[in-house]
């Protein structure tokens, strides 16, 4: 019901490194704080000091285990809007509130046109939509659209809040439509992948898989071969060692 613009050359998005994410929630709370006063404000919290506390968050970090026992892994998985190239969350919108920007591909919601019907949330396979039940408006990650070109902010900080917060540098922001961008190169080098590609939404955001674990050192240094006497008394090896203070 809402049309997508022609594909843009610029495809702004995030690259998230699952190899280094420690699940610290830095991205989640910095996102919450920025956006609670930003373009999509407010991000209300319901029953904040009692049972059932629940609020609107654009970025949530989940932890999973894969595999059994010591051979398994614990994976921390940050989840937010992937700013898909062909997002059903936009096309299902009956009012045109949900849209994809023609110039850079950011998926946004026009709060004034949103009727809070929730169709987009049904359409999004990634669970990235967050309904503000207080205002009756659907909200979502804006890729910090009010930061990334904001000239009142120093240039190095003109990045999404989740990216500048991340202590392990597991989050990267850039133009994934430009094969020469740092993020595109990172995706190429590390085998970055689409989340649930079978859905056909063609997410712009990419995830970098955990690296293969290094094999045990194949060439451990040779052990010294002690003499029979040294085996009886290992201290003999060091008896005549010439050492200089």
């Amino acid at each position: 019901m809402t049309e997508l613009p022609p594909p843009s050359a610029k495809k702004l998005g995030l690259v998230i490194d699952l190899d280094t994410c420690v699940g610290c929630q830095a991205c989640a709370t910095n996102c919450k704080e920025w956006n609670a006063g930003g373009h999509a404000a407010p991000l209300p919290d319901f029953q904040p000091y009692s049972a059932g506390a629940e609020g609107v968050w654009f970025n949530r970090v989940h932890s999973y285990e894969a595999g059994e026992g010591e051979a398994g892994r614990t994976v921390h998985f940050p989840r937010s809007c992937l700013h898909c190239e062909t997002p059903d969350c936009v096309t299902v919108c009956p009012t045109g509130a949900s849209y994809k920007r023609a110039e850079d591909g950011i998926v946004l919601v026009n709060a004034e046109a949103c009727i809070g019907c929730g169709l987009c949330a049904w359409a999004c396979a990634y669970g990235a939509r967050e309904l503000d039940e207080d205002a009756g408006v659907m909200k979502k990650c804006t890729l910090c659209v009010d930061r990334i070109t904001n000239e009142t902010i120093p240039a190095p900080q003109r990045q999404p809040a989740c990216v500048i917060a991340c202590p392990v540098s597991a989050r990267h922001f850039g133009d994934l439509g430009d094969p020469e961008s740092d993020v595109s190169k990172l995706v190429a080098a590390r085998g970055g992948y689409d989340l649930m590609p079978e859905m056909g939404y063609r997410p712009v955001n990419k995830y970098l898989p955990p690296r293969e674990r290094p094999a045990p050192n194949p060439n451990p240094p040779a052990e010294a071969q002690p003499s029979a006497a040294e085996i009886r008394n290992p201290l003999l090896r060091w008896l005549d060692r010439a050492l200089s203070r």
Partner: protein, 954 residues
């Protein structure tokens, strides 16, 4: 997918996106206090309210990043749990009946109690300050008051780590040292879930992983950092020391040790007297001037161990000119750790780590240390004046924290880890662990603790928390009984460097060693998650004597929030938040130095308090003046300082040395030492609220023996001397305690403690089963139980935070799936966790990444109903639980005496020695945690709790 029935909508029609809005109308820098890590932050303000907090990109600690807690600081700032005004108790203790009073009345009340205590027996004040970052003030205040009974929370946090390091390498992990993140090729981390230096560790791990370096995590639990480790070793809790000693065994067995490093930088070649039973047994052989001696292989005679280029023997049994026998330290060390009991096969079962894996780890570590060295083309000059053209590094680094220190064998485990670093030559070299300035310090640093005497209206000279060199420095009376209420620096905890806050209330309740009058606490939740056995703690706080008076007559508590401890105080002094006050991350306490150089920091107020509250440090300074403490009043008796910033700027501990090291001198040009500068705080603010001195490259490594570094450190007042700091494999101070236990010397332990001192003051690291575990039936309590702080709440004062509690609202008991299945326990089951002293109820979550013999939970999530302005039905109170309820404060009594559940060397609280059995609840028992004490009543006039938060702080 165009819909034929409706006209297609124009995409984004009419949406207005304001992309050039300034963040706020003002921005101020300060230092975060959402945990202990002291990151620099920029606080954006709008209409005088906090709008947004971000990391300060220029700050040396966090370099622009911010953690999950830091951003949530805005919700702590506007928490409805903030205390509103001074309070006076008007009902029974614990009933929560309070009346608001004026600050003047509050100060009068406190002064009245304290004046009487000071005029009679100042020791009857116990002043303990919890998560205090102003210890250079609070400790000084206590000494001026004249009580030895002062400490912060270090005794129940990580004193084992501090003591183990400071008595061995003159530094440690956390604030004392860090990994060389730019060069390390192999990192082994022990027992770290989340801990001090949280952002620097994360920044560093990101760098290391990016470079393809290997990261090994030794931890019973695979969360957080362990989750991204290249290798996770799910060790059994409390056995890390054995694993480290097995690695040492392997390195020695295969002769992969850095002998050059050992003879140049450690006491490996120092001679130790062998005279079993004699008063000098185990002490170093020294010359007439007291200098330690080595055996010169060329001269075949003892010689000053510091003689340049001398060729010392590292093994051999030598007869000294005076006829005594002596052996080098290296030999004693090698003999011990080559022993069969430390062979990988001998420790494998106990550690839960296969022998082949230990052997492989040792080989990998040795390969990196010795075959993958790093050479920096950086000339430097050593302490003996010899120039070296390069800096050669062994790029194997280690880091460890509470997981190994919070055991009763933690001191020796920490020392063992430092011995391992020394064997590898991997201390302050490129790619290894490095000192953070002002460390290294002399071993041990400075003189022993003050407090041997106390007298009415008389200050105690010296530092209350300092470094015993031997039994003569203990704080004990003629009979060997403790002089401090917490028994730190007594024979029960001779190296109790950080005090023993966890014992104070229990000892005061037992009037052992003596009764106290006033318990004065700051920011320490001793009636809940900071106490071992909190219900017993509460019983003592409310205990009345036969005459109806309280066992502890007066309790004063300063805190910014309605914590579980508030209802047990007679007088509440409400503090400001960290964004409302001045503070000082002092060079005299725990500064923000790094391996790149010394540094310190301040907090400045960025918002005005909207309540009748005062910064605790201002209150303390005023109390000092009201009491007439000499350093807090002028000659005419008027207050010496008007507030904390005045003190920070103008106080001089020794001539030219004050709380801050930067911009000293009248014109602000001096570093470290210089007269007070009236503009000092302004200069800090202009620089982002921190000061850092960057070391020149020739001072970057080998600081323990780097001539230029040592000279500059002395000139800047960081050390009283500039001699080489020789790393101590064999610890003579420990041996002095052991000799006392054997009957030598004037200061003698009570007979009941002789065996304990003799055993645990081994001058070389030892391993023993955690003490509480030795004392009980292992079959009855088959599982270890430990806690971790989640990254989003680590060391956080106020986990009632509206955002953070959505992330962690109720903790579970995490259990190995295989272990649980054997017991018929399933996901979400309610279980009893039972130890030898009690039981607590919680809900199970199963996981794979946990040692099968270990259960664990997130710490300090569980809250008492009613506290922190959370509704009583909150998950924190209904389902959250504390393992504290089943952790004993005492080891089982022996011969009528009971010792604290603590490390016998340092008094470190042994939280992680806990053993439990887990059993399924009956269906009727499910759904609510137990114990579940009565709901606390909020103080008067606390703010209303909103049902919905739209804008933070509105």
């Amino acid at each position: 997918m165009p819909d034929t029935h409706l006209p297609p909508r124009m995409t984004g029609q009419g949406d207005r996106v304001e992309t050039q809005q300034p963040i706020g109308d003002a921005v101020k820098t300060t230092t975060c206090y959402m945990c202990a890590c002291r990151c620099g932050i920029k606080v954006h303000l709008k209409d005088g309210r906090v709008r947004y907090i971000e990391g300060n990109p220029d700050h040396p600690v966090n370099r622009g990043v911010i953690c999950g807690k830091g951003s949530a600081g805005i919700m702590t700032q506007y928490s409805p749990a903030r205390l509103q005004a001074p309070l006076k108790r008007v009902g029974p203790r614990g009933a929560g009946e309070y009346a608001e009073i004026s600050w003047d009345e509050a100060m009068e009340m406190a002064t009245g109690w304290l004046r009487e205590v000071r005029a009679t027996d100042p020791r009857r004040l116990a002043f303990f300050t919890g998560r205090d970052q102003s210890q250079s003030l609070t400790g000084f205040w206590a000494a001026q008051f004249g009580t030895p009974n002062f400490a912060a929370h270090g005794g129940f946090c990580s004193v084992n780590m501090a003591a183990g390091g400071l008595y061995t390498i003159g530094g440690s992990f956390w604030e004392f040292g860090e990994v060389d993140w730019d060069h390390a090729k192999y990192l082994v981390m022990f027992g770290v879930a989340e801990d001090h230096d949280s952002n620097p560790i994360k920044i560093g791990l990101g760098k290391m992983k990016g470079r393809g370096a290997k990261f090994v995590s030794v931890n019973p639990i695979r969360t957080g950092y362990s989750a991204i480790a290249d290798e996770w070793i799910g060790i059994r809790p409390g056995t890390d020391g054995l694993l480290v000693m097995a690695l040492m065994h392997e390195l020695l067995r295969t002769d992969r040790v850095d002998l050059d490093f050992l003879v140049r930088y450690t006491n490996a070649a120092w001679l130790v007297v062998r005279n079993p039973g004699g008063a000098d047994d185990g002490l170093f052989v020294r010359d007439a001037e007291g200098k330690p001696l080595s055996w010169d292989r060329v001269a075949q005679a003892p010689a000053d161990a510091a003689t340049p280029d001398m060729q010392p023997a590292i093994v051999g049994d030598f007869t000294l000119p005076d006829g005594r026998r002596a052996v080098p330290v290296f030999q004693l060390m090698a003999e011990r750790y080559l022993g069969a009991e430390y062979a990988p096969a001998a420790v494998a079962e106990r550690c839960g780590v296969p022998a082949e894996r230990i052997i492989r780890l040792a080989a990998e570590i040795a390969d990196v240390a010795f075959n993958q060295t790093i050479t920096l083309n950086q000339p430097w000059t050593d302490a003996l004046g010899r120039r070296h053209e390069t800096m050669v590094g062994r790029p194997v680094a280690f880091h460890a924290m509470r997981g190994i220190s919070a055991h009763s064998n933690g001191f020796h485990t920490c020392r063992a880890l430092h011995l391992l670093q020394m064997l590898l030559g991997a201390i302050d070299t490129p790619g290894s662990w490095r000192y953070k300035s002002p460390f290294p310090r002399p071993i041990p640093p400075g003189p022993g603790p003050a407090g041997k005497t106390s007298a009415p209206n008389t200050p105690i000279a010296g530092n209350l928390l300092a470094f015993p060199h031997g039994p003569d420095d203990l704080l004990v009376d003629e009979a060997g009984n403790p002089l401090r209420i917490d028994k730190a620096f007594s024979w029960e905890a001779p190296l109790g460097l950080h005090g023993m806050m966890h014992t104070v209330i229990h000892n005061a309740g037992a009037e052992d060693p003596y009764p106290i009058d006033t318990l004065f606490m700051f920011m320490a939740n001793m009636a809940w998650n900071s106490a071992m056995n909190p219900l017993e703690t509460i019983r003592i706080l409310t205990e009345q004597k036969a005459d109806g008076s309280y066992r502890i007559p007066h309790v004063i508590y300063a805190d910014a929030f309605f914590s579980e401890t508030v209802p047990y105080a007679d007088l509440i002094l409400p503090d400001t938040t960290y964004l409302e006050r001045w503070d000082c991350i002092s060079i005299l306490d725990r500064p923000i130095g790094s391996s790149h150089g010394p540094g310190d920091a301040i907090r400045q107020p960025v918002v005005k308090p909207d309540r009748d509250v005062r910064p605790f440090q201002d209150v303390l300074i005023e109390l000092g003046a009201r009491l007439g403490l000499p350093a807090f009043v002028k000659e005419d008796g008027s207050p010496r300082w008007k507030d904390y910033p005045d003190y920070i700027t103008n106080h001089q501990r020794t001539p030219g040395v004050g709380p801050l090291a930067g911009w000293r001198g009248a014109d602000g040009t001096k570093k470290g030492v210089g007269e007070p500068n009236p503009d000092q705080l302004q200069r800090y603010i202009e620089n982002g609220c921190f000061w850092q001195h960057k070391l020149p490259p020739e001072q970057g490594y080998f600081k323990q023996a780097n001539r230029a570094y040592l000279d500059d450190a002395r000139a800047m007042g960081m050390m009283g001397q500039s001699n080489q700091i020789v790393l101590q494999i064999w610890s003579e101070p420990l041996q002095k305690f052991r000799l006392a236990a054997e009957g030598h010397g004037a200061k003698q332990p009570p007979d009941r403690l002789r065996g304990r001192i003799r055993t645990f003051f081994d001058p070389l690291p030892i391993w023993y089963a955690p003490l509480d575990q030795q004392a009980q039936d292992a079959a009855a309590y088959p599982l270890s139980a430990v806690t971790q702080r989640p990254m989003a709440m680590y060391h956080s004062w106020g986990s009632m935070n509206a955002w953070l509690r959505q992330i962690h609202g109720a903790n579970r008991l995490y259990m190995s799936r295989a272990t649980a299945e054997r017991q018929g326990i399933a996901q979400d089951d309610w279980v009893w966790v039972e130890s030898r002293v009690g039981r607590v109820k919680g809900q199970v979550a199963l996981m794979e990444g946990v040692n099968p013999d270990t259960v664990w939970t997130w710490n300090a999530i569980g809250k008492r109903a009613g506290a922190w302005q959370l509704s009583p039905d909150s998950p924190e109170a209904e389902r959250g639980f504390l393992l504290n309820h089943v952790i004993t404060e005492w080891l089982p009594a022996q011969e009528g005496f009971r010792s604290a559940n603590a490390d016998p060397v340092t008094g470190q609280a042994a939280w992680y020695d806990l053993r439990v059995a887990v059993t399924k609840c009956t269906p009727g028992e499910a759904a609510q945690t137990a114990p579940h004490p009565t709901t606390l009543k909020a103080p008067p006039n606390m703010p209303a709790v909103p049902g919905i938060l739209r804008r933070p702080g509105r």
